[in-house]
Symmetry: C2
Subunit: 280 residues, 2 copies
């Protein structure tokens, strides 16, 4: 099986791909859009893309793709802990370090740690966290890098300290995109997108009633402007159950009647809430 992921190697996306299917032929791809396109065109069998993270943000390119996609569906999701590490060459004397390389976003995530432990050290931007380890190894000055554990493994560098990001650890949720969604497991969820032709107050209220009346839980709801005309929204919802379950299937039949368009993005096994640990 060819499994595309948001490259390069050594990123959290590669880690998610290995966690999902270690036996797959892993294909690093440069952007989320290109991973999604490669699934849609059949160039790869499945693709794994970040879909939600409290620091890096946006699931928007993935959702935009799924809304437009003809063949691709969400078939699985998994959460990977985001843990940044301080990485250096073996036997580096930390007191001598004058430069620390990373992606600016990762440097931002570790701002307090860096200020406390390496005051005055030069922070140098790299194109990716994984690439920062390569940059560090080429540095003429004594240097370190901030990157995932996996990036140190790939480059045979030393992990000096784990979990150096400020604040509590968090998770990135990844979606596996495939040419079909998942068969029912008895503990599933279904992702939907739907549109209304009228923007009268109460259309969403009416839609949610279709789920509520059947005891179907809503684990996510989000409205986004469609970009098509003023005040036109698409609603993205995750509901409990598989699209083949009787209650869900009946609710979706009714939903078709009151929406201008309904798209099922996929039914797949429900994962535990990734942000269920106390954060402070």
């Amino acid at each position: 099986m060819k499994l595309g992921f948001l490259g390069p190697e050594g990123t959290f996306s590669e880690q998610a791909a290995i966690t999902y299917c270690a036996e797959a032929e892993l294909v690093p791809i440069a952007s989320i859009e290109e991973v999604a396109d490669a699934v849609e065109s059949g160039e790869i069998d499945e693709g794994i893309v970040p879909i939600e993270n409290s620091l890096f943000g946006s699931i928007i390119p993935v959702l935009d793709f799924l809304i437009k996609a003809e063949k691709s569906r969400i078939k699985f999701e998994l959460a990977i802990p985001v843990e940044q590490c301080l990485i250096s060459e073996p036997d580096m004397d930390l007191k001598k370090i004058t430069r620390i390389y990373s992606h600016p976003q990762a440097l931002g995530q570790c701002r307090a740690y860096l200020a406390n432990n390496f005051p005055g050290v030069d922070l140098v931007a790299s194109l990716s966290t994984a690439g920062s380890v390569a940059d560090m190894l080429l540095s003429e000055e004594p240097a370190a890098a901030i990157a995932p554990y996996r990036a140190a493994e790939i480059h045979h560098a030393t992990v000096v300290e784990r979990g150096v990001e400020d604040g509590n650890s968090n998770f990135t949720r990844f979606a596996v995109l495939g040419h079909s969604d998942h068969t029912p497991t008895g503990h599933d969820k279904t992702s939907l997108a739907f549109w209304f032709s009228s923007d009268a107050p109460g259309t969403l209220y009416q839609a949610l009633g279709l789920f509520s009346n059947r005891g179907i839980n809503l684990s996510k709801i989000e409205s986004r402007p469609t970009g098509e005309s003023l005040g036109t929204y698409v609603f993205l919802a995750d509901i409990s159950g598989h699209r083949n379950d009787d209650a869900v299937s009946a609710a979706l039949s009714d939903l078709v009647e009151i929406t201008s368009k309904l798209k099922i993005l996929g039914s797949y096994p429900q994962m535990p809430d990734m942000r269920s640990t106390p954060t402070d």
Copy 2:
């Protein structure tokens, strides 16, 4: 008036700050969290922070702050077009360029443009788009930078081409945080956060009914796990009207009865939908 913004100078945040209030004493601050904290502590009068963008993503740190804040409220919002420029030294021969500097995110946004116009050129990471212009000016090789127009102005560099980002132009929405929200203007919106003690299906349905029955429109709804315990959500909603309007005020009184907590993040003038232009 001391107005904090997400620095450094030359970013879209500085542009938003100037657009909002050119007379203010502008204070560049290193992170969204620090801008918010400086408003809360009274160190600055108001702070301007990005709250929504289709490329850069996340409003989450701002919302997390507003949920916890004791004094700060949203008092204004404005949208700024995101337009990346190719910037170089005056009279640079573009054919000689061997390096292009920018924040990795901006390089990603301009991937197709760079591949078509500068194949094989070295892409070099900078800590910020504004900083990439400074990096370019110090480069020993013929170089260019990708950054906002304002960054070229600050560094007296030349804008070679505007709007070099791939795809259609988009906007970043900024929120102005202050020690109070805005007085009613007759065309306002109100941002809310609310929590339910029960996660029974139908609690959100019931809440939306309170708005729907009074003809109050919902321009945004979003659910987020609170991080406190499994399956606990906070709902973020934007509704039409000012919290002092009769209908809104009555709906909010009823909402208090069915939620475990309700927080009004602010009432402020409604802006036109930033994504109202056709995107494709």
